[in-house]
């Protein structure tokens, strides 16, 4: 047997020191290194690929260290839960409904920065607490090998028709684009009709995915003829090296129809933000021309600031019939919309 050695007091001291340092580092949230200008905590519900380059650039230009927490719409609830324990400074969202909901819950702080005036009043909160940057319309992406534009349904109502059973894809009910879309439909159709439409949609959908990327890829690959997505997913799929024979139908465009629903992506200033000054700096910075262009260019959304050119191939905001509804009106209906979705049998989760 090996002769038992001695654990020297030195070892013990070192071990205790390591423990103490680790504990300290962990409590302080893992050593905020670099950046003498403080930090900025961004909760990001948008695809990270579109946001990260901008945040990196901001970090570089200002020396403010950006800490990002990427997720999906659950971040809305997280902000709500952390009401008495605020961690986030800025919330980047794909959904005006979610931001307006937060504002009405008194979770956002007003912002009077003149930079906000670049954006049309329709696309920002009355108190400036959130501001839209890019528009996103709800469209049907389809695979041209499987179905022609003429065969495609022209209205969303038609998706409830059994003839489309198993032919299309939707996202899970909790996807924030979906929730706000449903909130808008409720305004137009009323509860009953929306609920039965959702049930039929749930019945008919061939696949229910977590997000829209799955849908554009699957439709592009010919797994399903078409799917309900935001317009820019169509443009993203066009850019793919393969599986790119896709088209997009803006629904409900005929005379007398309601038009396609348009949502906006943007950013919101959190009430009680620990780094409020940095949050304001960030929002002003994002509203500069270059950043506005960047924000919508990579995701192929339509910029809301008229000076900025839309990406090639993307429809300008006035080129199609949009559902005439004020986005700020949707906030209060947001939780009801979720409830309605759950009642219809469509899961919020995957």
């Amino acid at each position: 047997m090996k002769k038992p050695g001695l654990i020297k007091p030195l070892y013990l001291t070192v071990a205790l020191l390591v423990l103490a340092v680790l504990t300290g580092a962990l409590i302080s949230g893992c050593a905020p290194d670099g950046g003498n200008n403080g930090e900025l905590v961004v909760y990001n519900a948008r695809s990270e690929t579109f946001v990260k380059p901008l945040l990196d650039q901001f970090e570089e230009e200002t020396g403010i260290r950006v800490r990002i927490l990427s997720g999906r719409e659950e971040l809305v609830n997280q902000i709500e839960e952390e009401r008495n324990n605020v961690r986030a400074d800025v919330f980047i969202s794909n959904d005006a409904g979610a931001m307006e909901y937060l504002r009405r819950q008194n979770l956002l702080a007003p912002n009077d920065s003149p930079a906000l005036e670049n954006i049309d009043e329709r696309f920002r909160a009355s108190d400036g607490s959130w501001v839209g940057l890019s528009a996103r319309a709800r469209v049907l992406i389809y695979n041209k090998n499987l179905i022609s534009e003429a065969e495609m349904p022209e209205t969303l109502q038609e998706l409830a028709d059994p003839k489309w059973e198993g032919k299309f894809m939707i996202t899970r009910g909790g996807n924030s684009s979906m929730v706000t879309h449903v909130a808008a439909l409720r305004e137009v159709w009323g509860d009953e009709e929306t609920r039965s439409w959702l049930s039929a949609l749930h019945q008919n959908a061939g696949a229910i995915t977590g997000g829209h990327t799955d849908i554009r890829r699957a439709v592009g690959a010919g797994e399903y003829p078409f799917g309900l997505v935001n317009n820019y997913y169509y443009h993203l799929q066009l850019e793919e090296g393969q599986d790119n024979n896709v088209g997009a139908v803006y629904p409900d465009q005929s005379e007398g129809e309601m038009g396609a629903f348009v949502n906006v992506a943007g950013m919101a200033l959190i009430d009680g933000a620990p780094n409020k000054e940095n949050a304001r700096i960030f929002i002003d910075w994002m509203l500069e021309d270059e950043q506005q262009f960047e924000f919508s260019y990579h995701s192929k959304e339509t910029p809301l600031y008229p000076k900025i050119q839309a990406p090639e191939g993307a429809k300008e905001i006035d080129q199609y019939r949009a559902l005439d509804i004020n986005l700020t009106d949707l906030g209060p209906h947001w939780p009801d919309a979720k409830e309605l979705i759950q009642e219809s049998g469509l899961d919020l989760g995957i």
Binding site: I7, I27, V42, R65, R87, G174, G211, A218, A221, D347
Partner: protein, 544 residues
């Protein structure tokens, strides 16, 4: 002799009970069976055990308090569907893993298959591939937009189906059965089978009536691990778009409907308990003792013309559970690295993984010591009770532990909520039992006589611990740390739910990249996790 000892112990217990009845101050002596530990080790063990158990208790309480209304709605809508999804997957994967594991174990231990030593290693290796990483490689190859489809025009089968999920999950869990069953087969005594042969049974009957029953305990232990894994897996099932209790709890928490998440957790905890109880029942009803005195190693079974079939079978398993994932990940890492996956951020994610997992490993090694020490040196109902409390987190899925942490920290300890402390504590709760197992295996080999020698030479108890016990069980401590470290690096659901902003780890990055479909960007991190996991493989395999 054993009867005498038991009788002695019973007398002693009766004596202490009597003493405690007569004088309440003797109560402590009674519950510790006359051998109470010092105050400091007991306080440490007690606090650790409580901290390990409170979050789970809290989830249970909140779930039960969830309200009839919520229970009824959930029982009506979600639970039946989830029960069916979860149980069918658990049963199918357990059976498939049992079949593959036992067949492979028999082939490499009992037959004349060529290269059995190498096969044994290759078949155990998939243990280092985290199942969600394995799932990514299967999506890359067989997914609807995968490699196969690009080559032949359409995907050969639907990977996002029950069959797909079950097959992939089986591929990365069968090694549990394989390792435990091979270990049992290696200790197998030829005498029993020979007796059967002499009694006139043919090969098949011997296998059915003698070999199989003798293997039952090992198979049961393997299936237990597989089914507990299937119940708790989050990454693989969610990547393959399958809904079980864990994913439902995760998404319910995501929408911060914590009470519903707690209700679902209660059901999942019940299922886990039922499985543990079933295994305990089947195990305790059957007892086999193999007489070591007359041990004779069985002769290898000659496969004859079945040799090729055996080789092909094992080859297929190794190809799908090891070669395919590794080669796909290496190939894809190449693309990912060319696209700049290995930037400064990657280093940052790696350091976050190392820091959190390292902290968890160190804390686990330290915190396990008092518990293990009490259990080994002061055996009594009290020390077993502390141990059981501390083990509670072991069988339970990470989502439930994360749920408990969020409940407690957001409501009562807001200052720490949202820091890495919560994350590390979750790791400790989940993985402390691994450190305890490794350390107690080592400590049990150190005879208490050595402690006594130390004491009689004048060392106080703490010096006995630091000068005799700690140096002797160092290998166990290190092994425990390695196991905890690797488990924490791989951990996904609790990390996703508890990570502070800006502290993404490698596992989190894999999940984010994969959920956006950027598998090439997820590949380098996946490969790194596999390499890290391979480090304590020696200890991992020796555990069985």
């Amino acid at each position: 002799m054993p009867e005498k000892e038991t009788a002695c112990a019973e007398n002693r217990i009766a004596y202490y009970r009597q003493a405690a009845l007569e004088n309440p101050s003797r109560f402590r002596l009674y519950i510790w069976r006359g051998n109470p530990p010092g105050f400091i080790p007991e306080a440490l063990a007690l606090v650790t055990a409580l901290v390990m158990f409170i979050p789970i208790l809290y989830v249970l309480v909140r779930g039960i308090q969830g309200g009839w209304e919520r229970w009824l709605t959930l029982l009506d809508t979600r639970i039946p569907h989830l029960l069916w999804n979860t149980l069918s997957l658990t049963v199918v994967v357990s059976l498939a893993a049992l079949l593959i594991g036992v067949a492979a174990a028999w082939l490499v231990t009992r037959t004349d298959l060529p290269g059995r030593k190498i096969w044994a290693w290759l078949l155990a290796l998939p243990l280092v591939v985290p199942p969600y990483v394995g799932a990514i490689s299967y999506i890359i190859v067989f997914g609807p937009q995968g490699l196969v489809r690009n080559l032949v025009g359409e995907a050969p089968f639907d990977i996002y189906s029950f069959g797909g999920v079950a097959a992939v999950l089986t591929m990365f869990t069968y090694p549990y059965v394989f390792l435990i069953t091979s270990a049992a087969l290696k200790r197998f005594n030829l005498n029993y089978e020979e007796a059967g042969r002499m009694a006139g049974l043919n090969h098949l009957q011997v296998f059915r009536k003698i070999t199989l029953p003798l293997l039952r305990p090992a198979m049961g232990a393997g299936v237990l691990l597989v089914s507990l894994y299937a119940l708790s897996d989050f990454g693989l099932v969610s990547m393959l778009r399958y809904t079980t209790f864990t994913t439902a709890i995760y998404f319910q928490m995501g929408s911060f409907d914590r009470l519903s998440a707690a209700v679902l957790s209660v059901v999942l905890i019940l299922i886990t308990l039922v499985i543990l109880w079933l295994e305990y029942r089947t195990r305790s009803r059957q007892r086999f003792v193999q007489d070591a005195g007359t041990f004779r190693k069985p002769l290898p079974f000659s496969l004859g013309r079945w040799r090729l079939a055996g080789l092909l079978g094992l080859g297929a398993v190794v190809a799908s559970a090891l070669v395919l994932p590794l080669s796909v990940l290496v190939y894809w890492s190449y693309y990912g690295i060319a696209r700049g996956a290995l930037d400064g951020r990657f280093l940052e994610y790696t350091s976050h993984s190392l820091l959190t997992a390292g902290a968890a490993a160190i804390f686990c090694a330290v915190l396990a010591l008092p518990l293990v020490y009490l259990k080994s040196r002061h055996p009594s109902p009290v020390s077993s009770f502390y141990e059981k409390l501390a083990l509670a987190g072991y069988a339970l899925p990470g989502v439930i532990i994360a749920l408990g942490m969020v409940f407690i920290f957001n409501s009562y300890i807001p200052a720490l909520y949202g820091t890495a402390v919560v994350l590390v504590l979750a790791y400790i709760i989940r993985f402390l039992p691994q450190a305890m197992q490794a350390e107690s295996a080592s400590l049990n080999q150190v005879s208490p006589r050595l402690d006594e020698a130390g004491r009689s030479l004048g060392y106080p108890p703490w010096q006995v611990i630091s000068r005799i016990i700690l140096p002797l069980i160092r290998p166990g401590i290190l092994a425990g740390m390695a196991l905890v470290f690797v488990s924490a690096v791989k951990e996904l659901p609790a990390t996703l739910l508890l990570r502070p902003p800006g502290m993404d780890t490698l596992a989190v990055r894999i999940w984010i990249e994969a959920s956006e479909g950027f598998y090439d960007m997820a590949a380098p991190a996946s490969l790194l996790i596999i390499i890290v996991s391979a480090v304590p493989l020696k200890w991992l395999i020796n555990r069985f």
